[in-house]
Subunit: 410 residues, 4 copies
Amino acid sequence: MDLGVTDRVRPLIEQVRRMVETEIAPLDAEYHEEVGKHPSGDRFLHTDRQIEILEALKSKAKERGLWNFWLTDSERGFGLTTVEYAYLAEEMGKVGIAAEVFNCNAPDTGNMEVLERYGTQAHKNLWLKPLLTGDIRSAYLMTEPDEASSDATNIALSAVKDGDEWVLNGEKWWASGAGDSRCKLYIVMARTDPDAHKHSRHSMFLIPADADGLEVLRPMHVFNTDDAPHGHMHIRFTNVRVPEADLVLGRGRGFEVAQGRLGPGRIHHCMRAIGQAERALELLCKRALSREAFGKKLADLGANHDIIANARMEIEMARLLCLKAAWMMDTQGTRAAQPWISKIKVIAPLMALKVVDEAMQVHGAAGISQDFPLASMWAHLRTLRFADGPDAVHRRQVARVELRKYTNAG
Amino acid sequence: MDLGVTDRVRPLIEQVRRMVETEIAPLDAEYHEEVGKHPSGDRFLHTDRQIEILEALKSKAKERGLWNFWLTDSERGFGLTTVEYAYLAEEMGKVGIAAEVFNCNAPDTGNMEVLERYGTQAHKNLWLKPLLTGDIRSAYLMTEPDEASSDATNIALSAVKDGDEWVLNGEKWWASGAGDSRCKLYIVMARTDPDAHKHSRHSMFLIPADADGLEVLRPMHVFNTDDAPHGHMHIRFTNVRVPEADLVLGRGRGFEVAQGRLGPGRIHHCMRAIGQAERALELLCKRALSREAFGKKLADLGANHDIIANARMEIEMARLLCLKAAWMMDTQGTRAAQPWISKIKVIAPLMALKVVDEAMQVHGAAGISQDFPLASMWAHLRTLRFADGPDAVHRRQVARVELRKYTNAG
Amino acid sequence: MDLGVTDRVRPLIEQVRRMVETEIAPLDAEYHEEVGKHPSGDRFLHTDRQIEILEALKSKAKERGLWNFWLTDSERGFGLTTVEYAYLAEEMGKVGIAAEVFNCNAPDTGNMEVLERYGTQAHKNLWLKPLLTGDIRSAYLMTEPDEASSDATNIALSAVKDGDEWVLNGEKWWASGAGDSRCKLYIVMARTDPDAHKHSRHSMFLIPADADGLEVLRPMHVFNTDDAPHGHMHIRFTNVRVPEADLVLGRGRGFEVAQGRLGPGRIHHCMRAIGQAERALELLCKRALSREAFGKKLADLGANHDIIANARMEIEMARLLCLKAAWMMDTQGTRAAQPWISKIKVIAPLMALKVVDEAMQVHGAAGISQDFPLASMWAHLRTLRFADGPDAVHRRQVARVELRKYTNAG
Amino acid sequence: MDLGVTDRVRPLIEQVRRMVETEIAPLDAEYHEEVGKHPSGDRFLHTDRQIEILEALKSKAKERGLWNFWLTDSERGFGLTTVEYAYLAEEMGKVGIAAEVFNCNAPDTGNMEVLERYGTQAHKNLWLKPLLTGDIRSAYLMTEPDEASSDATNIALSAVKDGDEWVLNGEKWWASGAGDSRCKLYIVMARTDPDAHKHSRHSMFLIPADADGLEVLRPMHVFNTDDAPHGHMHIRFTNVRVPEADLVLGRGRGFEVAQGRLGPGRIHHCMRAIGQAERALELLCKRALSREAFGKKLADLGANHDIIANARMEIEMARLLCLKAAWMMDTQGTRAAQPWISKIKVIAPLMALKVVDEAMQVHGAAGISQDFPLASMWAHLRTLRFADGPDAVHRRQVARVELRKYTNAG
């Protein structure tokens, strides 16, 4: 069970780390300050400067061959293992726009996985190609406003067959990335067979973002921000027509696709969360060493030694657990890795939230302000406690696996 | 030690609760949606509709005599005890704009306390009168960007005597309410005597918001929002001249004023935090009863019974502790109440954050969106863990009092 | 809602506190060291010295009128309120044998409540009288080895009518106090009507400890100690015959008796737990001030300030909650007080365990040894998390009350 | 960084697991019930049956070559890595006497490490040989009653040179294993050079348990048990004379020896703690599946799914962290591994205590009784939070390493 950095990936990690620190981080703040400055007033349009920042960085990354690392266990790209990718994802998690610079950002990576694994050649030509080059973006439409989507069998957006087309009606929300004007593809889970077995009721559709009948109602806010220009959109479907050919993998197999997509996606989120925790701990320590109160460095006051030690210990444990989940995925497949993914999906965001929260506290009011990335990190991490399944559902999964050890035998 | 609802305050509580629920809550969302819609594009200007909402509600409150409850232990106003006021503050805490409707909002209440207790008759005529009628607003400028303000002796904004004027230079930030165009008065703590004993170095000044040399640099963000039109402003002082007469209570007595101000202010914050926790628990229960997953109500899934029970128990304990701190203030004075205020200042925000966080989790992604007040409540409550002293400083105070029991004797 | 110390109870508290500190505490260690020294080798027989210690202290208490405080809301005794008693119980909780010295120890107080409230005159003459004078002791037999007794409807010890006698068969365990040779009375819950409604299946019996067919199988251990000579006994019933007249209150009313008994009993346990937490915090502070490491007092190292402050805050909150539950009992009756009793039954033992655990940690290995009372306190407090209902059942009760607010309306 | 089970160790793990489950566990309870039954009444003498149980099991283990696994990175024995040993230690941790059966029990393993690494040939012949064969036992005397031994520089037992002998005076306590009549060797840290640098003040001595001037004052109790016949003894030194030749490694090098000894010892404790947590979780699940309340299995009530899932997640993380610490030791030496050992020393006992506590709670009162091993496990694990350094000291170490990253650079 080798969870370490391989010789193959070590130089990549170094390159990515250096580029994140020295080239991306300095521009990340500027990128975010540009939000809302498009002359049209439309917050979801990139400013010229934003485009310039992004494209210049992407070009550099591509030139250096630092691109599409996420495509694990594949002939295309680097053919990295998930364990190897984990170390890279951690570095990319440290700064907001870094993942996109290397074409490794959610939800595109998950969406590309879907196309790579389950798409037809036509799907690949039309959608995967420009996604792999970073020319377009995509969104994944799963969650719905009217259902407890923690139970995916609740998903209710209706798809009815009409000739060789499907007609979709209903609403989706939290379509992350759908605010981006470069977003051209929606991957949509809809209920095609309401009376089938609960795991065979749904199918997965590929729909152009400009299809007739699609209406973006509003951006959902994440702790008071609209996360423009990325956006988490609330979208209405009114008689949206999709050809049979754009149903992925087959009717009633929506769940299978969703499961196949979510496994790696969840791990990647967790890896990036660990990167954020590392960055927060670094900020915490630096602040604690640079400010004084009551005649002492903050670092030496109160429970700060314990807080720092606990943060370090929890980061290390979460990283090791994440690496083990990745290793399970690499060596024993998604299904066997599932309970490990559930574990890390609970642990990593909780851990990172705690570290970021402690870092905010050490910074005082500055910590929640625009002067530090901590509040944004916290808000983003907080969404991970429901995105791709809330903690409670993952804990339930882990408990069931545990109890089964003693019931199957009987 | 009567911590209960008195006969005198019971009907007031009922009236306030009803007005908050039926008249204020329905307009609160609209008020907040208006933010940023001023034709000038200036987010810190109220729209006509915002003014209309606020003034209509304030007029109703005034007519009904539901006004200025906070003025405890005083001949003016109701002469309520702090314990009695606690029950009212809790109700007002449940909805964003409610406290202002009853002229009981921070930082104005604390600032009015300063003027009432320590101001000259001239100060009262000029500033207290219009504050008591709700015609102007005020801000309190304490924290500074370049110092760990958790140790108030660090405060460094310089005031130098020049004739019978003081000349102030430096920066303050997190001047809450200073964004509001109705804000006319700044109460400012400055360092007048750097070489005096650490508790005699500072003095407190009254400064008109439009004084020469004041420059509002920017609004500080609270978890990505500028909290307009209230605002938490970063302000630069360049040779701001203040007449000797506008120094409150006396040179070198800034600390005394700050302590006198902070005691009740901290309790009021805690009371309102308890109201927010109550509202969050109500939202949690309602959501948990109205949604289903895996064939059961969310309320009956996972650890939700335990989560609900823990929330209820922690709210009750925090409320009782808060009432005891209020009772100490009423019966034994601010100094004796100090360690009790430190206790509740640590406990109430932490408790409320926990309840709100659980409520967000039960709501799924909706819980952090604009569709529910939970994310705003969380962000606001999070600031209370440093505002008026960070948790660590209050814990330190409590520990010192405890240890002194065994060292003084020896 | 007066939760304070009344003028009536203040001098009693002072007398009890002084007697506990100066007269009982110094003998408590000696009393416990005597365990196992009876010449017969029987650990459950008191040594002469133990009897001497106990009886001398009891006589003093009786002479001073410090006796049977627990009999609240009654014409006999002091007629204290539960709130008043709470302050006394806290003092008595601080030292192991103190409660018995004042005839206020469990399970006798609960058993006396049963006899006082529900007993016939004959029961009172035979059993209540010598219990009130402290001449005999009693036990309460509820829990059973073969059932999850957290659900009291599971209780299965069989009682079958035979003429005007009942014949009991089955097993009980954790009969606390039944090891004591002075224990003469067992109050026993048995299932008389297995087919009745689940709350009417059981009846409560008074049975002399020397009745035929009773066999003490063994003492149950509490963290490796048999708690001799008090003991928590495992008892077998083989055709134990009980006359109809010794069934309390009426057939099928066992639950009603149990509920009436448990309310005050649970509060008393919690009050004493708070006393133990206070004593533990005192020990913690004294140790932390008296030892040094790395050139500093332990008190000033690591997170100890935070640990002390948290302990103080949690003790205060638990005490206030306990007083509120007592006040509910006094003013609104056992039924209305029930959810409050559930709350405090969860909170007080958890809080006290935490404080004792921190105190042990500050003492190092000494803290878990015979040189300090902390380990015994911890072990005893740990039992309270299941005695009279486990935490989970009480949390469930609190949650149901909370959720009912929103379902009853609908 | 291979943290997995190697092919070499896999069959050993299987054999050890099977022997623990099928041969040792069934006799462990009987062994413990024999305590105190020696005809002399001396609890610290093994009964014939105890000797019989132990020796029969030890012989079987030896015959099968399952012996002295702990001797890592050595030509003697198996030459296992620490990582490999970790998996074995976990299995041995599950049952009380198992570690001794395989001659892998504390404190003997640590003491043998000292002799192996730092002893002279004479020391090895006299002491290491019979320890390796399991013919004698040993104790390690470090902690003292009058000093905060968390700071090892406080250690004060005096050793004064007199000719070519040292004369030792003072007291040690918590000499674990010194109660055992087979214990023949004490390894003792004493202060030889009070005025030297704080890390050069102490030296390490080998002293026969029957040396003149040694007096065992009493067994220290661990949560009310004397842990006979192993025992944790309080020992007085009165002019105990030790020849210069029995000073290990050299005068003033006591710290170096202690550090060398503690590294692996701490990891082994943690590995066994993880085994105990696994066993507790197994007991928890089995109980939760076998008992019902309120018409449901306990497993499906309250927060039990979450409790089980959290236990599983925390066990996995602690194991991975422990394996990483072992791997650091194997690949980069004790010094580099030190912060990792500190981490796991904090984490593993806390985690195991939590799991055992939850398991006790699910068992109700039975969980703290002699019917289950949980209370003994808890008491033993609780000592690990101070043994070999309290949590606070280890957290302090971790924090200092963390902060140094940012101060060294400056």
